[in-house]
Amino acid sequence: MVKLFTKPEALAEQDTHYCPGCTHGVIHRLLAEVIDELGIRGRTVGIAPVGCAVLAYNYFTFDFQEAAHGRAPAMATGVKRVRPDLMVFTYQGDGDLASIGMGEIIHAANRGEKFTSIFVNNAVYGMTGGQMAPTTMPGQRTTTSPMGRNVEDVGMPVKVAELIAALTTPGYIVRQAVIKPKYIVKAKKAIKKAFTYQMENRCFSLVELVSTCPTNWGLTPLESVDWAEENMLSYYQLGEYKTPE
């Protein structure tokens, strides 16, 4: 009998702590599949953020480091500079990467560090209980924007992919979504391309993934994917923003 659907080797035999319907689990699976397909598990080092994915290392079967909040790109720089043969990725939320760690990601991208950043944009701080993130949508209610994000007061949401793509240094910068199967297929392709560029020692790569946080959005998982599709995708447009060619 041929098994058509199995657990990737890079994924651990372990239940996750994520809420039902959370897209972190989907992204973990995509990453594990790509790492298996490229056969790089034995030379991969992941770097976990501070956020809901801080325990991401419990769900993978390769080396992992746990960063401080926002500092994963600096750690990845350290690893990659002393061991260019290793495959290194950071896994970061929007508070982690686009708020406290904005300096680290911009400079790592601008130096063209040859690692991959997986950027999970769920428009909210998940782990700390649903506060406003730099990526929170205009008018979106969070615990620290109870009347909805007031853009007069706190500015417009940060478009990370566009921001990083604006740097002159070559890179692979792409935004996809993990909210419905048709998007998930493209998201996996983007992750694989990013890792392939890294294997070829070509450039820095960042894959932004429009995600959901049903718990802190106060919606069911199904309502969440619809909400993201209707409200986020027109602002966070999907596609490749920069390729090294």
Binding site: G42, V45, A48, A68, R71, G78, V82, G103, E104
Partner: protein
């Protein structure tokens, strides 16, 4: 190789290379930028890694990532930069990664000044960042000693899997002195396969490694902290180093002083000797672990009437001196912290006034 005349900052850079550390990340700050300027030439010659980071915060995590991947790695900075690195150092200490931090201290607080100081004593010796931890801290008093301590720092960091700090005042970095680099240069790095995230293929293992500092379970965190505490106690048992100077004489006053400041104290002690007055000196070479027993013994010698801590800080070292003298002799402080080093004459006047 005979003696060469070198500036302290450059000698520290060369010493790291000769200790087999070929990875350096840093951000410029006076008075230690010469280390980076020196290494930007020397490391490529040795096939090493040199990177100027975007901030000291980022640098501390580049150090963390590189150390966690099993590399020998170090950075140099000065007081305001070290404050920014203190976040990373806390994570590095918890995650038990070996790394060397050099602080060529300048005056503070805030921007302070760019002239020499010892104002980061308490910061360096009492844990530097949040949480319960310590660094092993060594304080050189000459360029030669800065070289020796830098070279010793890497094996010590690996022995304890803990950050080690070289704490020098600005003069140590800036002055030129003849130095002799030891013959046997490269100390082989320890085998880090048991814990380093260097890729499973590298260590031919099917078991993955994890470098982390999060322990959500209170009992696990308690155990983790007890294990760290045991390491600091081992440092206190095995790594204390200090110089005792003129302590065979019947001195009335004992000075405790370290770094460049201790050299000025020695000059004052020599001059007072010519006037027939004997003064003892304990010079801590490790600030953590602190040579408390030596200080206590020297302070409680029959002839000794009082102890004075002489520092380029506003009464920091004196806290440790008091802690160990335990009220058995009066302990006082003398010092300056604006960038000027107290002169031998000022020290002599102060000692005479104490009698």
């Amino acid at each position: 190789m005979g003696k060469v005349l070198m500036k302290g900052n450059e000698a520290i850079g060369e010493a790291a290379i000769r200790a087999g550390c070929l990875n350096y990340f840093a951000y410029p700050i006076t008075p230690q930028s010469e280390v980076a300027e020196y290494l930007t030439h020397r490391l490529p010659e040795e096939g090493g890694v040199f990177l100027q980071g975007e901030s000291e915060v980022a640098v501390s995590y580049m150090i963390f990532g590189a150390a966690a991947a099993g590399a020998r790695v170090f950075t140099t900075s000065s007081s305001p930069g070290i404050s920014l690195m203190s976040e990373g150092i806390s994570y590095i200490a918890s995650a038990q990664c070996p790394a060397v931090f050099v602080n060529i201290m300048r005056g503070g607080p805030g921007l302070g000044g760019i002239l020499p100081s010892q104002a980061d004593y308490l910061q360096a010796t009492k844990g530097i960042g949040h949480g319960d931890f310590r660094m092993l801290v060594m304080a050189p008093a000459s360029v030669q000693e800065a070289v020796e301590m830098t070279m010793a720092a890497f094996p010590l960091a690996e022995k304890y899997r803990n950050p080690v700090m070289i704490l020098g005042d600005g003069l140590i970095g800036q002055m030129m002195e003849p130095v002799d680099f030891p013959e046997h240069l490269k100390t082989p790095p320890s085998n880090k396969n048991a814990w380093a995230t260097n890729g499973m293929d590298t260590r031919q293992s099917e078991a993955r490694n994890l470098v982390k500092s999060l322990y959500l379970d209170p009992e696990q965190l308690n155990q983790h902290n007890l294990m760290l505490k045991a390491k600091y106690e081992q440092m206190e048992a095995e790594e204390v180093k200090a110089e005792a100077y003129n302590v065979d004489k019947d001195y009335k006053i004992l000075i405790v002083s370290y770094g460049t400041m201790s050299r000025v104290c020695k000059t004052a002690i020599m001059q007072l000797k010519q006037e027939g007055l004997e003064i003892g000196l304990i010079r801590p070479q490790t600030l953590f672990p602190f040579p408390g027993e030596m200080v206590l013994q020297a302070a409680t010698k029959d002839s000794c009437q009082a102890v004075v801590s002489i520092e380029m800080s506003m009464g920091q070292l004196v806290e440790d001196v008091e802690r160990y003298v335990k009220g058995q002799r009066p302990v006082s402080w003398f010092g300056k912290c604006g960038g000027e080093v107290p002169t031998p004459e000022e020290i002599i006047d102060h000692i005479k006034a104490m009698l």
